[in-house]
């Protein structure tokens, strides 16, 4: 071979090489793309992991990780596993917004499972309105979040109780007690933020709707995470009501009950505390007064389904404590998300959002064993709601009255019209 030919690379060789490289690229890029889509599905979870209501975030995280572990162990989504990125907002709305942005921009999360209370939930809602990421709110119960069309975000869903549902159910239940005991003078003591104000107004509205003779003679609005409720308790005592309503929750409710018991408040006034019947609250109160009327939060005995009892025990076995209301809500949020992934075969936010609208899943927490994501306002319905009276031992709540969802639907429509939401 002539020397000149040994090192000569002709134009055709160059073209062949470029062609081969191009072919490799054509074959290779989808492989690279597949490589990216076969990575974990990163889900960001802003929540409260410290402070007086750390049990909100801790129990939400525990419940979500149980669902995620089961999903990943079953092979994930075509081999793609879920990776949770969980951040502490410390219960501060500004921090909730900041960590959500961080989860989206720095941690590259594809989906947000917002386990904030209402105070932070609204902040997260505005962040995902801008970013367009799919978001499931699992702990915000303020009705306006999904009921008010001005706040509607197509990519946001609520997988939590809604204040108006609890208030209608509570109003119906309270009306029976009012008629039986003649409780005409009422007061309220609820936390001073969106959830407390809205839920109390809704409860009072339905209390008066069902028993028009009732008079609310006063109210008191302790701050969220207030340390001392003496001034609020003595104000209730001065008002001399026959009954009072509170939607205080978590550590705040525990402190209020303990301090109120010192004044003998619960011996003098019939108490309706919608958020009382949650294991962590019930078990932390050392002097649990008997006969406080409460809505169900989470109880393994309500709804009385074997799947609910099993889930409650599985949680307790794994985490050494019973679940909370926030736990079942967050678990349900993840169950909806996983069901949508399996239905669409995708983790794409828009496809998942389309699948979630109107979706019904089998659930241990459903009134009839099922929960539906109502498409028109993207909030769950048909979850179990009941009211009963507290007892110091298992099952902690007795004489549970099961709420009638047909009645809730009827009155909710009227409520939306009155608010200008429909």
């Amino acid at each position: 071979m002539p020397r000149s030919q040994r090192f000569f690379v002709g134009r055709r060789d160059v073209l062949k090489s470029v062609g081969a490289a191009g072919a490799l690229a054509v074959a290779g890029f989808p492989a690279i793309a597949r490589g990216q889509s076969s990575g974990p599905i990163r889900i960001g979870m802003p929540t409260i992991l410290s402070g007086r209501v750390a049990q909100l975030g801790i129990s939400s995280r525990n419940a979500v990780l149980m669902e995620v572990d089961a999903f990943n162990a079953a092979g994930g989504l075509d081999g793609r596993k879920i990776e949770m990125v969980i951040r502490d907002s410390k219960g501060q709305p500004a921090e909730a917004a900041r960590v959500t942005r961080e989860l989206i921009n720095t941690d590259q999360c594809e989906i947000i499972l917002d386990a904030e209370a209402s105070s932070g939930g609204f902040a997260v809602h505005e962040v995902i309105r801008e970013s367009g990421h799919l978001c499931l709110h699992t702990n915000s119960e303020t009705s306006a979040l999904t009921a008010d069309p001005k706040l509607h975000v197509p990519n946001a869903f609520r997988v939590a109780r809604q204040g108006i549902h609890d208030s209608i159910a509570g109003g119906l239940y309270a009306a029976e007690i009012v008629k039986a005991k003649g409780l005409k003078r009422w007061m309220t003591a609820s936390p001073d933020y969106a959830y407390g104000r809205d839920t109390t107004a809704e409860f009072v509205e339905y209390l008066k709707y069902f028993t028009p003779g009732v008079e609310v003679v006063g109210d008191t609005w302790p701050k969220l995470f207030q340390a001392d409720y003496t001034e609020n308790i003595t104000k209730i005592l001065q008002g001399r009501p026959q009954a009072f309503y509170s939607c205080l929750w978590g550590g705040d409710l525990v402190t209020f009950i303990e301090q109120g018991a010192l004044y003998g408040l619960f011996d003098q006034v019939t108490t309706f505390a919608v958020n009382m019947a949650d294991y962590t609250t019930l078990q932390q109160i050392k002097q649990l007064p008997k006969g406080i009327h409460s809505g169900n939060r989470y109880l393994k005995s309500f709804p009385a389904l074997p799947s609910n009892a099993m889930w409650g025990e599985a949680y307790r076995t794994k985490h050494g404590a019973y679940p909370t209301n926030w736990a079942w809500q967050s678990a349900t949020g993840m169950q909806f998300l996983i069901a949508a992934m399996r239905k669409t075969g995708s983790a794409d936010g828009k496809k998942l959002a389309a699948a979630l609208r109107g979706m019904t899943i089998e659930s241990p927490f459903g009134a009839q064993g099922k929960i539906t994501m109502r498409p028109e306002d993207q909030t769950i319905v048909d979850y179990a709601i009941g009211w009963g009276t507290t007892a110091p031992k298992e099952p902690y709540v007795e004489q549970m009255h099961v709420a009638d969802w047909k009645r809730i639907y009827e009155l909710e429509v009227a409520w939306k019209k009155s608010k200008g939401y429909a």
């Binding site: 992991l49 410290s50 402070g51 007086r52 209501v53 750390a54 049990q55 801790i58 006063g218 008191t220 609005w221 340390a227 001392d228 003496t230 001034e231 609020n232 308790i233 003595t234 104000k235 005592l237 001065q238 978590g250 550590g251 705040d252 525990v254 402190t255 303990e258 301090q259 018991a261 010192l262 004044y263 003998g264 011996d267 932390q284 109160i285 050392k286 002097q287």
Partner: protein, 300 residues
């Protein structure tokens, strides 16, 4: 604003008794914390921004001792003495190095300690709130007086705090220790020149201030949820008390704490949405009219 309700309350014996006792109770715990802040500032010239965390530690120490012993007295003592010992270590190892430094340096060191103690509390006792049970002897129906209602535990808490206030006042004004401390606050060099160990004096004052915060935490433990960071809100109110009462004045702290307690108790009836506003207005008014505080002494 509901001045009719407030007027109605002030003309009803039962309301006056209940709200007056509520104001006393709110004020008493506040006094215990604020008296430590004012004492330490008055003598050492240091604003202990970590004092709220001492209160938190007192509550947690009491909670732990109660879990081990189921004795409320031991729990309260454990809270008080534990914080006193911690205070001595804090003063010797950290604070003594920044005496005379500017306020910013003191703030930074104290704030670092606040963050460290909050995180340590999370590690040792958990991020969730915990609750110390009310001792069985106080789980009794409240006392009724003039138609008003006063919980038994709050009566005990008030009596203990008033006794402490009298004791500390006597210690500071009627004993050789107190006179020496007040002299050191005026002129440390002169006291040292007389052969008095001012370092030991400073440690003693800081230990006393810490002890008061520890007692407050221990007494608050059965009636409040214990959570990391619980000292922040009481610290802010303690500073309001200290400013109103006068920096360095125990009597001033007592009167100002009562004023704040009564403002909150009666404010919840007359102006529930502006109670905190009134507290800050009161502080602003004092700063304008008498910047040294109600019982404070003008600087020469």
């Amino acid at each position: 604003m509901d001045f009719d309700a407030l007027g109605g309350c002030l003309t009803t014996a039962s309301c006056v008794v209940t709200q007056l006792s509520a104001g006393l109770i709110i004020g008493m715990l506040l006094f215990l914390v604020a008296s430590g802040v004012t004492l330490i500032f008055g003598v050492l010239g240091v604003i202990n921004f970590a004092h709220g965390s001492f209160y938190m530690l007192g509550a947690y120490f009491a909670y732990t001792v109660y879990q081990l012993s189921e004795s409320f007295i031991l729990a309260a003592l454990g809270g008080a003495l534990g914080v006193m010992m911690f205070g001595v270590l804090f003063e010797r190892l950290l604070l003594s190095r920044i005496y005379g430094a500017n306020v910013l340096m003191q703030l930074l060191v104290c704030y670092a300690i606040v963050l460290i103690l909050d995180d340590l509390a999370k590690i040792l006792w958990g991020a969730e709130f915990v609750k110390m049970p009310m001792p069985a002897e106080f789980r009794v129906p409240p006392v009724r007086f003039g138609g008003g209602i006063v919980p038994v535990y709050y009566v005990v808490l008030t009596v203990v705090t008033v006794a402490i206030a009298v004791g500390v006042s006597w210690l500071m004004s009627g004993t050789r220790f107190g006179k020496t401390v007040r002299a050191a606050a005026q002129n440390k060099s002169m006291v040292a020149a007389l052969g008095i160990n001012t370092t030991a004096l400073y440690v003693g004052v800081f230990a006393l201030g810490s002890l008061l915060a520890g007692i407050a935490g221990g007494l608050a433990a059965p009636i409040r949820s214990l959570v990391p960071g619980m000292g922040v809100s009481i610290l802010i109110e303690s500073f309001i008390v200290t400013v109103i009462g006068g920096m360095g004045s125990i009597a001033g702290a007592f009167v100002a704490a009562l004023l704040i307690g009564l403002t909150r108790a009666f404010g919840s009836i007359g102006f529930p949405l502006f109670t905190e506003g009134v507290m800050f207005l009161l502080m602003a008014f004092i700063l304008l009219v008498k910047p040294s505080g109600l019982f404070g002494q003008r600087e020469a």
